[in-house]
């Protein structure tokens, strides 16, 4: 006979106002197997918990039911209290009398009766509960950082500096990300590369960081503390161990007209290339799509040029496996191209640029060496129009959110333009100016007041080309909705920041959730901004939502601390809510017949094959076994198993069956 203790909480008046808590305690007290039932004002308070602890000892309880708020709220509290009293914490369950009863029903007989039913249900469940032990899993103290932009660089350095190993994977041939493309940064106007490149070099030289550039994550298996990452090292076609990075091959490469990704399409590069002069590693890769040899089977000029024979034509993609304990996602963002905007010419006007392209024009390392010149004819634009919110905050375009950084960089662009073209005239069309941040508002004011940038509050309806000019037709909503038409030489669109291409697929590989715009979803918008719903995977930077550099760096350091905290333990303690395949005495061994359909249903690859062998070592049967480390406790296999050979601890067949029956048996 069970000895269950039942504790009904008034929750101040939150429960007792609509539920007759005393009656609940009284009726439950008369139930089979209930040894003790009381009600109290605040069960979660210290005295409340003391009641439970004392009752456990006094009555020798073998199960506890607390009828109070949602278990999602206080289950850990009461389980801890039970554990302190020497009762296995998993013999404690909660009946949700507040969120699921008192708060959603009026005071009535039915409400009290429902409360009784809910408690009864948990009493019947607890009767079937078994003591469980937490699962301890070892932690691999090595982190995987995906993405080598400023977020990934910062996270890698911070983790590496705590003494843990980091594997940094970057898709492009060099780390640096978008920050390396920027000219100067707001609100200080210091040179982006000047502050970034030392960090890049530090990454390359850090003894704790293993850098894989031109590499992508192929798959991630496992669970917090014990991930197995398969990484595809794309064939660089250049042997980095012998290449000196002299650059001779690049100069000789005959394919020179490939639009440069680094210059956002404004400049060109060769087929064997280093994306930019300060690249880390500063060694070239061959772009096989554009290379003459790979396209047509002949050329090999680079090979002839190379003094050290580093060109590897037959090199294939290589897949390596790294074991890691935590993952930081820092894959950044992308910006919409001008072709996304039919009203601004579907990208057909060469002098309509994105903000990122303007960054390259303004950058000393850019295609015009920092001079603002029109891509169409190289002329210096005398009239320039900046259009903020190009795509952002526009539900019709499917991007209802604010891209956050555009107000600031548009002000910076206008400022840089005014600094470089003294007789130039710049106009910014904007919806609102969002300049929240240290020294941000002051920066915008400076652009308006000191650099005489003309800010027009209104949207631009059309941009079209006429007589070599770009006619910008907009409206000034501050001056009574008057139409404004500007004959500009250049138009810069602050296009929306969007999720990086492939982020959805990456999220699926990692089992992390993502929002409707394919940005990775944080576990909690306020309290867990750097965690994902998948334990052990953290977020840094703009892959979660568009954000500026200081915010990105802050988030990256945050993620790094989370990783470091995880790595401060040798073992992780996990809830024992995992599936188990039954084991019986010979000759049955288990009721599992080894059809392994559970294996195909398991989202975590947690089902393993276990060979049952006789004393002579001969194979008797192969049956399923659940890897408790990998199992996340969803129970899909349980519902799937035809012979009911798998069960899930904490939600066993017996437990849920007892719950359902208790609700229906009069």
């Amino acid at each position: 006979m069970s000895k269950i203790g039942v504790f009904i909480c008034h929750c101040g008046e939150n429960i007792s106002a609509t539920v007759d808590v005393e009656r609940v305690a009284r009726e439950i007290g008369g139930m089979e197997g209930v040894a003790h039932a009381i009600d109290y004002k605040y069960m979660c308070s210290d005295p409340g918990q003391t009641f439970i602890k004392e009752a456990v000892k006094k009555y020798g309880l073998d199960g506890v039911v607390v009828g109070a708020c949602s278990p999602r709220m206080h289950e850990p509290t009461f389980r801890r209290a039970c554990a302190e009293a020497g009762l296995n914490p998993y013999l404690c369950e909660m009946a949700n009398l507040r969120e699921h009863c008192s708060w959603v029903h009026e005071k009535s007989e039915e409400t009290t009766e429902k409360a009784i039913d809910l408690v009864k249900m948990m009493v019947e469940k607890v009767k079937k509960n078994k003591p469980l032990d937490s699962i301890k899993v070892p932690v691999t103290k090595r982190a995987l950082v995906i993405g080598g932009g400023i977020a990934g660089i910062q996270a890698s350095l911070d983790i590496a500096n705590t003494g843990h190993k980091v594997i940094l994977v970057e898709r492009d041939p060099s780390i640096g990300g978008h920050m390396s493309q920027l000219s100067e940064t707001f609100p200080t106007l210091d040179c982006s590369q000047c502050i970034l490149t030392p960090r890049m070099v530090e990454v390359a030289q850090h003894p704790n960081i293993k850098l894989y550039t031109y590499a992508e994550l192929e798959s991630l298996e496992g669970f917090i503390g014990n991930f197995k990452a398969k990484i595809r090292l794309k064939a660089k076609s250049v042997n980095y161990s012998t290449c000196t990075g002299c650059g001779a091959c690049i100069q000789k490469c005959p394919v020179k007209k490939i639009p440069s990704e680094f210059n956002a399409g404004l400049g060109t590069r060769t087929a064997i290339y280093v994306p930019f002069p300060q690249a880390v590693p500063n060694k070239p890769v061959i772009d096989r799509v554009n290379c003459n040899y790979y396209k047509r089977g002949a050329c090999k000029i680079c090979e002839k040029t190379c003094q050290v024979g580093s060109i590897e034509w037959d090199k294939e993609d290589e897949i390596i496996t790294e074991e890691v304990g935590a993952v930081v996602l820092a894959t950044g963002f992308d910006v919409k191209g001008t072709d996304f905007f039919p009203e601004y010419g579907y990208g057909q006007y060469k002098d309509v640029l994105t903000g990122l392209q303007f960054e390259r024009l303004a950058s000393a390392s850019g295609p015009t060496f920092g001079e603002i010149r029109r891509p169409s004819d190289g002329a210096i634009p005398k009239k320039i129009v900046f259009i903020a919110c190009a795509g952002s905050r526009d539900p019709a375009k499917g991007i209802p959110y604010c891209s956050k950084i555009c107000c600031m960089y548009t002000a910076k662009h206008a400022m840089l333009y005014q600094h470089k073209v003294h007789d130039g005239e710049s106009t910014v069309f904007y919806m609102d100016i969002r300049a929240g941040g240290k020294n941000y508002e002051e920066f915008v004011r400076r652009a308006i007041e000191e650099d005489t940038v003309n800010y027009v509050r209104g949207r631009v309806a059309r941009v079209y080309e006429k007589n070599g000019k770009l006619i910008v037709k907009g409206v000034d909503t501050l001056l009574g909705g008057e139409q404004v038409e500007i004959e500009a030489d250049m138009v810069v669109l602050a296009t929306a920041g969007v999720a990086n291409c492939g982020s959805e697929q990456l999220a699926q590989k990692l089992h992390v959730s993502y929002d409707p715009y394919h940005f990775f979803a944080e576990a909690h918008p306020k309290l867990k901004p750097v965690e994902t719903n998948t334990a052990g995977i953290f977020l840094a930077g703009a892959c979660q939502a568009p954000k500026d550099i200081p915010e990105t760096v802050g988030m990256a350091s945050g993620a790094a601390v989370k990783v470091a905290a995880l790595f401060s333990n040798d073992e992780l303690v996990r809830e024992p809510v995992v599936a188990v395949v039954n084991r019986l005495a010979p000759p049955l061994y288990s009721t599992c017949v080894g059809c392994f359909m559970c294996e195909t249903a398991c989202p975590y690859n947690a089902i393993e094959h276990e060979e049952i062998k006789g004393r002579d070592g001969s194979l008797i049967r192969t049956i399923a076994r659940v890897n408790q480390g990998l199992c996340q406790g969803c129970g899909t296999c349980v519902a799937f198993c035809r012979s009911k050979s798998i069960d899930i601890q904490g939600y066993t067949n017996e437990q849920v069956y007892a719950e359902v029956m208790s609700l229906l048996n009069d």
Binding site: M73, H100, T636, A639, V660
Partner: protein, 154 residues
Amino acid sequence: MSSNTDFEPKIIAFVCNWCTYAGADLTGTSRLKYATNVKIVRFPCTGRIDFLLLLKSFAQGADGVIVSGCHPNDCHYTSGNFHARRRWIAFRSILDLMGVDIRRIQYSWVSAAEGSKWADLVNNTVADIRALGPYAEYQKVADYLEKEGYNEEA
């Protein structure tokens, strides 16, 4: 069928912990009201919900059943709800073939943010089942042993 106005249907809800249970918590926190007829049984995931439990519920006197979990793509375990959805498609098809009244099983997706959807779901399901009346056809045979033999005349 007896007058349905005083008929209080017994309804069991099988919900997942991460979305619908949390959504029902939100209904509570938002103080939205709904009928007392529905009682929630918590599961880790809709993928865990055994079809036999639905059958047993009817056999034990439930007039209706709600099964609810995370919206597609929202599953805490990434695909439990997709497995569940398939299972429900198959289960409905078989029940319908056997002549079981599938209108009495209401499937739904209720996310952790849809507190009001949960209240609506409960109220609508209670109204629907009330309109259908008690599931006497099923409950009648639930108690039968061979003695009351179905093949014998009443």
